[in-house]
Amino acid sequence: MGMDANFVLLAIVIVTALSFDFTNGFHDTANAMATSIATGALRPKVAVALSAVLNFAGAFLSLKVAATIATGIVEAGAITLTVVFAGLIGGLAWNLLTWYFGIPSSSSHALIGGVVGATLIAAGASAVKGAEIVSKVLIPAVLAPLAAILVATIGTYLVYVITRNVPEGTRKRGFKYGQIGSASLVSLAHGTNDAQKTMGIITLAMIAAGAIGKDAGTPTWVIVASATAIALGTYLGGWRVIRTLGKGLTEIETPQGFAAEGSSAAVIFASSHFGFPLSTTHVCAGSVIGSGIGKHLAEVRWSIAARMGAAWLITLPAAAAVGALAWAGANLIGGALGVGVVFGVALALSGALYLASRRRPVNAGNVNDEWTGRLAPATRTREHAA
């Protein structure tokens, strides 16, 4: 492969990585802001703008070279530019599909699945570290929501018991500010943890392509580009996922929203400090469920929780299948052209999904409409921009 083809290949991988980062942002806006939007603590557009700014800032907070969990689970020798590209496509596809169906699901798991699938087909099963996947991905995925449910249930219970005699006005205003504060912390932590993943992937790709030295740190423009992509995605707002998390799982009041975000922030901070890799999405969804249990046992819509749980179970294999397919397609055609063709196909499919979502849009105008058992509000369709 000539130098120019190599450069084109690297450029496509970087664009794909930033696209993934973008979907990571809009898919996960819900984690921090769904409860604040649902309770009316913040107007929808203000909530996503605040979250976007904090995601951007969070990306700059930690300057250590990104812990690229997605690459720690496969043998370093198996990682080629095409494998990284195909892995990103797998993650992207799953993020977009779950967004379309309004299902909160882990962007990290999607990326890991994609990379594993691409590695499996490119280098065989021996290149995948099975034990690492069990200990760093599968077990945390079970524990994260359980820990968050426990913390949020206790927190919500305490909040209601302690403030039962506080006048409604003080209570509502107090928890409104508390909720905004705790949701801001979740946004900040999201920017710090998730933008790092993209920075790590881009740095890795540049090293693999020989564009920078093996021990080189993350170039500044990569940090700025990753922070911008995740912030733009966050600002666009994944309204479909926000609606499920804020209205679908349980009906949330301000004190519950506060307890849920407080729980999420605590679990995310604690797990990143002690090196226990938990998915932000798994934690936040668990907290919302816990805030429903802590107030009234019957308030959680378990059918939606079950649908979400099923999606979490198939995240890895589904993203892996797309990752493997993308690698096979790129490899069949070969070189930068192969990667370019797969990129074009992915772009076309994403566009089709976007058009399909416009038929029953969920946006800032109808995200809080009453939950009638389905994602898109059926009563009316407003023509606001998404």
Partner: protein, 67 residues
């Protein structure tokens, strides 16, 4: 099983999460009780509670970034 789970890290995460996630949330709630009591002692107590919450947030940010 413990080959697959870092049990040490797990119980630390759980303990810290409970202290910060449920504990600070409860302290914040106590502050609202103090505020609405209308008494000076209540307001002072509320101020103290808010300080504890703020300190917890700063500590949390610091430890997360220092890792």
């Amino acid at each position: 099983m413990s080959d697959y789970i870092d049990l040490d890290a797990l119980w630390r995460v759980l303990l810290a999460s409970l202290l910060a996630g449920a504990g600070l949330v409860a302290v914040f709630s106590l502050a609202l009780v103090g505020l609405s009591s209308g008494r000076t002692a209540g307001r002072a107590g509320a101020g103290l509670c808010f300080l504890v919450v703020a300190a917890g947030i700063v500590l949390g940010l610091y430890t997360m970034l220092a890792t």
